[in-house]
């Protein structure tokens, strides 16, 4: 198992946190993990992304020029990362905010209405959880849902632990949805 994942969106969508959550869950399974936020240019502005590698082997570069999985939380992110995806890779995108379709036909595509699911379950902020939940369903080898839920305890700061109930609801809902 070796997956190179990019989670991308705008600042405030919790993409860094989503990446960390995957790492923490995979750590529980004894896997090698690395996480690095994009900080390429001392640039201001809205976009944010992180690279996550989860692997059975020690990890070389934490930087992921050609991901095997892209989680795109908004339009600009999908525009930026779809072309970089490896052939045969998975593009999981947030169709609540992205109103256009991916262009490539050599990749696997999953649309998830992340914001809608999150809002339905009671938290506007938890769209990232919806994306992760859906990703787990698509790539069960990556990490187990239980470990993701377990990892929430460490991933989420003390101040935000109170939101974990909703987070778990969103994770589960997205995990069992097929849209």
């Amino acid at each position: 198992m070796h997956e190179e994942i990019v989670v991308a969106g705008f600042g405030g969508q919790g993409v860094i946190m989503a990446g960390k959550l995957l790492c923490l869950a995979a750590m529980k399974e004894g896997k090698h993990v690395s996480h690095i936020p994009s900080y390429g240019a001392e640039m201001r502005g809205g976009t944010a992304n992180c690279s996550v590698v989860i692997s059975d082997d020690p990890i070389g570069s934490p930087v992921v020029p050609h991901p095997t999985i892209v989680v795109a939380m908004n339009g600009p992110s999908m525009r930026k990362f779809e072309p970089r995806l490896k052939k045969g890779g998975l593009l999981l995108y947030n169709s609540s905010l992205i109103d256009f379709k991916p262009e490539r036909d050599d990749i696997e595509v999953i649309a998830v209405k992340a914001n809608d699911i999150a809002e339905d379950e009671g938290s506007k902020m938890a769209a990232n959880m919806a994306a992760i939940g859906r990703l787990q369903a698509a790539k069960p080898d990556l990490v187990s849902l239980d470990n993701i839920i377990d990892a929430l305890k460490i991933a989420v700061s003390k101040r935000n632990q109170k939101h974990n109930e909703v987070n778990i609801k969103v994770l589960k809902k997205a995990n069992s949805s097929t849209t």
């Binding site: 923490l24 750590m27 993990v33 690395s34 690095i36 070389g60 570069s61």
Partner: protein, 350 residues
């Protein structure tokens, strides 16, 4: 693995310094190491320590001079342009024989460059960007675990030899999170009878790097420094061998480029190519002898760097046969590409 935690390299350095007993940290913000001051600003007050954001890198390194002269374990951190500014201060610290730890998370240069990780300050770190015949002990970790472990070790080395020790990382290493286990304190303690503590009951202590008459003092002082350096060269060389026993091809790389090289070696070994990794963990003192021995058995030595060729000079100094030495480097914040390393090594096969 239950005691493993996930932290950024930068934060791991901070926590490790605190474990090592460092209570005085002075720095000026610069990407990609800003998590170190941010971490220290939060944590040091919790353990009764001093975090001070200096007005500049020059001030920071000289605050370290002061705190170290006072007998305390002191640290600063920065990234390439900031380290350039600290060169005079580092030279003074070396001249005054004070211990301290300096962290450099290198980024793309020259000049302002960019903030992606890089290894193009190897010369600056190992040859001394400052003035005079002095040396800085330079450690190059390749993982968050090593960053943490080596930070603890760096304080001991600094105190033992009374010299500045540099942790030479890069932006990628500082920014990445990886699972690691918090290091234990070494437990070592060091007497500092030379420290400035007020001259109660004794003659005044003086900390200086000036030696006015060349005849009597400065040369003598420098020769003494040289003795310390020789001792360090004899005792503190660190390196890692990976699959070198049967290696016909040796890749030499440190830090982040060593990680990538290691991945490439995995692929190459699958193809049956006998290739291994020689990874210096100390860049000064450099493992010349050890690399020489390894290279004597090898057909080709490939140096991989995130620069246009700096460590390769040390490799050439070790190997003493330029026809054996090859180089692959990326610059300006770019990472070496595993496929490129593989292609190179394959091409030696003939």
């Amino acid at each position: 693995m239950s005691d493993q935690i996930l932290m950024k390299g930068n934060e791991a350095v901070g926590e490790a310094a605190i474990i090592a007993g460092c209570r005085h940290y002075f720095a000026y913000p610069i990407t990609p190491q800003n998590e170190i001051p941010a971490y220290m600003a939060k944590r040091l007050p919790e353990v009764g320590g001093t975090f001070l954001q200096a007005e500049s890198e020059l001030a920071a390194i000289n605050m370290v001079f002061g705190a170290s002269a006072a007998g305390a374990r002191a640290m600063t951190s920065s990234s390439s342009p900031g380290i350039s500014l600290k060169q005079e201060g580092i030279s003074y610290i070396a001249g005054a024989e004070l211990p301290c730890v300096i962290v450099d998370m290198m980024r793309g240069g020259p000049g302002l460059g960019n903030i992606a990780g890089s290894q193009s300050d190897y010369f600056q770190a190992t040859r001394g960007g400052g003035n005079g015949d002095y040396r800085v002990l330079v450690i190059a970790p390749a993982s968050v675990q090593e960053l943490a472990d080596m930070t603890v070790k760096a304080f001991d080395l600094a105190d033992h030899y009374s010299i500045p020790v540099m942790i030479l990382g890069d932006g990628f290493l500082g920014q990445m999170s990886e699972p690691f286990t918090l290091p234990e304190p070494s437990g070592k303690t060091f007497d500092k009878p030379w420290a400035l503590t007020g001259a109660k009951g004794r003659k005044p202590n003086i900390i200086a790097s000036m030696r006015l008459t060349p005849e009597d003092l400065l040369e003598k002082h420098n020769l003494e420094l040289q003795k310390t350096y020789q001792e360090i060269e004899a005792n503190e060389v660190m390196y890692e061998s990976y699959l070198l026993d049967d290696a016909e091809y040796v890749i030499v790389a440190y830090g982040t480029s060593a990680r990538i090289s290691r991945s490439a070696i995995g692929e190459l070994r699958k193809e049956g190519i006998k290739v291994g990794l020689f990874r210096p963990l100390t860049l000064w003192p450099y493992p010349y002898k050890e690399l020489k021995a390894v290279s004597d058995r090898a057909k080709k030595v490939l140096t991989v760097e995130m620069s246009l060729g700096q460590m390769v000079e040390d490799v050439r100094l070790a190997v003493q046969n330029d026809s054996k030495v090859d180089f692959y480097g990326r610059t300006g914040g770019m990472l070496p590409v595993s496929e490129e390393i593989i292609r190179k090594v394959r091409s030696y096969g003939g």
